[in-house]
């Protein structure tokens, strides 16, 4: 039996669906409870590759969800991962903007997560407030790698246009191949949205953060921070 079939099968027998967290064109995300222990898990089913999830399997990082199982078959992917208790930045932004110190703390955590992701040769490609959860116990966690991909050396452009409008870097629109710097672009936008509630093209964050955002969101990837570490240093 393939792992994919095994995973989808034992979900029915060993787990029970609590609620659907997200449903879109590419797949669904459900909250699952283990029948024996009552522990909560997140199950993702989507069209695409689970390669990035597979690389993350068994990896322990406080800023990334634990991936317990990742399998794919016939272009469909199934992933069982840790459930992160907390609110997304998107939800928190509905209440109020983040302070500079809060933003720095959250972004630093996201940078740590991206650093791990990039070290595995992967790009997230969908960094946005909805995909950053602040744990109830403290610390930010980057989730949702459905749009992420592995970087192919020598590739000229992405084969699929994915990402979220406003956060996706220009090269994600088929103009070039996205790499780690596409995440830096989105991270710059995220910083700005956390501080101002608006996209950098509408209102730029003031002061030092504004300069960081500006450098992150340069259209030419070569003009952005070269890697996440540089951005963390700037922060």
């Amino acid at each position: 039996m393939q792992v994919y079939d095994f995973l989808t099968e034992y979900l029915k027998t060993e787990f029970e669906a609590v609620k659907q967290l997200h449903s879109g064109l590419r797949g669904t995300v459900t909250l699952e409870r283990h029948r024996g222990s009552g522990n909560l898990y997140v199950f993702r089913s989507f069209t695409g590759s689970a390669e990035v999830y597979r690389r993350l399997t068994g990896l322990a990082c406080p800023n990334l969800p634990r991936i317990y199982e990742a399998a794919e078959r016939d272009g469909k992917a199934a992933v069982l991962e840790e459930y992160i208790q907390g609110d997304t930045v998107f939800e928190l932004l509905k209440g109020s903007l983040f302070s500079a110190a809060e933003t720095r703390s959250v972004i630093t955590d996201v940078c740590r997560a991206l650093s791990v992701l990039h070290s595995l040769g992967a790009v997230h490609r969908d960094i946005k407030p909805e995909n950053v959860i602040l744990r109830s116990g403290g610390g930010a966690v980057l989730i949702d790698f459905d749009a992420s991909r592995t970087v192919k050396e020598g590739g000229s452009s992405d084969t699929t246009v994915l990402g979220t409008t406003g956060f996706a870097a220009p090269e994600q629109y088929g103009i070039g191949q996205s790499d780690a710097r596409a995440d830096i672009y989105a991270l710059g936008t995220l910083i700005n949205v956390m501080l101002t509630g608006r996209h950098p093209s509408v209102e730029m964050a003031p002061g030092r953060f504004g300069r960081i955002v500006k450098k992150c969101t340069m259209v030419n990837p070569d003009d952005r921070y070269k890697d996440i570490t540089r951005l963390m240093e700037a922060l």
Binding site: V3, G58, L59, R112, T165, G174, S201, V219, T229
Partner: protein
């Protein structure tokens, strides 16, 4: 699952059967993989830089303060007073009940008494301990007033110094005399306006900063736009701000009447926009000269009688960074590059030469000022073939203010074709 099946393994915790490759046991919730700890990114702290700066500051401060301290040591015997007071206060304290009033008298008296034995002791060892004196200048300095023997050892450096300026003083005098003599001799002999030559390096440097953006030719007249890079333009000399002359070179067609040195007139239409008039010109490489700044543009124009269509490939091809296709059949994205000289505010329209095709294109912002989505009507492929210039109406801010310009990109059928293929 059959336990003999090679594609089956057992859970490391509960022993239940799992498919080979499974990394999680759903029964006992145990990971079958060894947990790896994520690598921690190494961040270069700026503290070393701060420490270095602090160290530099301390060194500079020390360099500034040390001579003063050394000089002051001769005038301020307070350090000795402390030593002295410890010895002398015991003897003098009973005689002087008033502490605050008597302390100065005590210390001065004690100082004299204590300095004398030290000063006497020092001359006893000066010649034999020249090396020590070098290493203990503070102690030897107070003594310098009394024995002349110690002076050369204590202050060998200050004494040569006054001598050196005396030697150095005559040196600068002959030098200017030598250097000034050939300069006036060269200036009048070779070039009269030497001061102009001195400013030419700036002009040469700025030449690369004046970039053409686009040009349009219509009815024998060319409208040319160019950019200044503000950072550089600030350092430009006066008179460099505007195009002052056109030069040209390149081969012209036989029916083009313009020859080298021919009649080209230039009129300033707007800031950054000039109208160039010519007679029957068929294109070529145009160079503009503004003082020492030079920039070139390649203009390919059809003769007026063949149509008022022209395309231009400038050394700076407008603000468009890329013009590439997405997977969508008739949608492509347009990215504008960051330009220090220009801030793109919005794109208001698109035009394909000739204008009749404009209705087949629609443009909408994805990220205003950066990325735009262009949709091509699928029926466009039935009416269009060949190469054309796509012009985007852009509203920009630059050093000349807020204004509308055209930014062009040349496209060919082979490039664009995939966009509207059904």
């Amino acid at each position: 699952m059959d336990s003999t099946d090679k594609t089956v393994k057992k859970c490391i915790n509960c022993g239940r059967e799992l498919p080979e490759g499974a990394s999680f046991c759903p029964y006992c919730e145990t990971s079958q993989l060894e947990v790896r700890t994520a690598p921690v990114p190494v961040i270069r702290r700026r503290r070393p830089l701060y420490a270095l700066l602090a160290a530099c500051f301390i060194l500079i401060a020390a360099a500034v303060m040390l001579p003063k301290v050394l000089d002051g040591a001769t005038d301020e015997p307070q350090t000795q007073v402390e030593v002295v007071s410890a010895a002398e206060l015991v003897e003098l304290a009973p005689a002087e009940p008033g502490p605050t009033e008597t302390e100065p008298a005590v210390t001065m008296a004690a100082l004299r008494k204590v300095e004398e034995p030290e000063a006497e002791a020092m001359p006893a060892e000066p010649e034999s301990e020249a090396a020590e004196q070098e290493s203990e200048p503070v102690e030897s300095e107070p003594v310098t007033a009394e024995p002349k023997v110690t002076e050369p050892a204590v202050a060998p450096e200050p004494q040569p110094e006054p001598a050196e300026p005396a030697q150095a003083a005559p040196e600068p005098e002959p030098e200017p005399a030598v250097t000034r003599e050939p300069e006036p001799a060269d200036e009048p002999a070779v070039t009269g306006p030497e001061p102009v030559e001195a400013s030419q390096p700036e002009q040469a440097e700025s030449s690369a900063q004046l970039l053409w953006t686009d040009a349009q030719v219509s009815g024998g007249q060319a409208y040319v736009n160019y950019n200044h890079v503000p950072e550089r333009s600030r350092s430009m000399a006066k008179g460099q701000k505007y195009i002052t002359a056109f030069l040209y070179n390149g081969e012209l067609s036989e029916d083009g009447t313009l020859t080298a040195g021919g009649d080209v007139s230039l009129e300033r239409i707007d800031r950054g926009v000039y109208r160039m008039s010519m007679n029957g010109w068929n294109g070529g490489t145009v160079t503009y000269s503004s003082g020492g700044a030079v920039s070139t543009i390649q203009i390919n124009a059809q003769l007026p009688e063949l149509g008022s269509y022209a395309s231009a490939e400038a050394s700076s091809s407008g603000f468009i960074s890329s013009f590439t296709v997405s997977e969508s059949s008739n949608v492509f994205y347009l990215a504008f590059r960051d330009d220090k000289a220009v801030t793109l505010r919005r794109v208001t329209g698109v035009r394909i030469d000739p204008d009749v095709y404009s209705t087949y294109f629609t443009i909408e912002p994805v990220t205003e000022g950066q990325v735009y989505k262009v949709t091509v009507d699928p029926t466009f492929n039935q009416t269009y073939n060949g190469t054309a210039t796509v012009s985007f109406f852009c509203h920009i801010d630059d050093i000349y203010g807020s204004r509308d310009v055209l930014s062009n990109v040349s496209i060919s059928n082979s490039v664009v074709q995939p966009f509207w293929q059904p």
